[in-house]
Symmetry: C2
Subunit: 114 residues, 2 copies
Amino acid sequence: MEKLKYRELVQKILMAHTERVLNGECSNRETALQTIFDVERDHYLVMVVGWHSGRRDYGSLIHVDIKDDKIWIQSDGTEVGVASELVEAGIPSHDIVLGYKSPFKRQFTDYGKG
Amino acid sequence: MEKLKYRELVQKILMAHTERVLNGECSNRETALQTIFDVERDHYLVMVVGWHSGRRDYGSLIHVDIKDDKIWIQSDGTEVGVASELVEAGIPSHDIVLGYKSPFKRQFTDYGKG
């Protein structure tokens, strides 16, 4: 699967998560969900941004980069796990790097070492 | 100043911060600084992403949105303050919203209420 396909797939997965959250339990919150795609630099994020009951709601729900034909997962707050979704969609696990795991720990995963 | 100018200025300020950090004290860190521009959806971020001495370095240094011709500062970890830089560049303060301050507190600032 070429790089272009990786990009399309990552965007599709992030969009699906955004829609799932917006249509689900969080739909009554004042907090917005931002889909942020920088296709030129290959950064793909879903951010939570807003206020809820007087408290700031802020942080990344998902952050994925594509770098040297590998998919780097920098942050993942989903229940299902973006890495699992990518594998299910046909991406070989050695093309996925769990950036949120330390470089040392990555060698003990089924994913790429980065 | 039209919306296009706002976009250009925000990108210029974020780029300058990225370069300042990369050329400055943080240049010896393993951590990367990502400039993330989604011009289509008007989200502009500088993110810190990496590992440093066995610890995860992750978070937004700057996050700016342009929404309804206003510049929303959602996150700002700079010393100078992006809002001050925008005002200095000629943006009227009522066109800047400090999103990281609560909607209640915003009325007591010199900036827009959002």
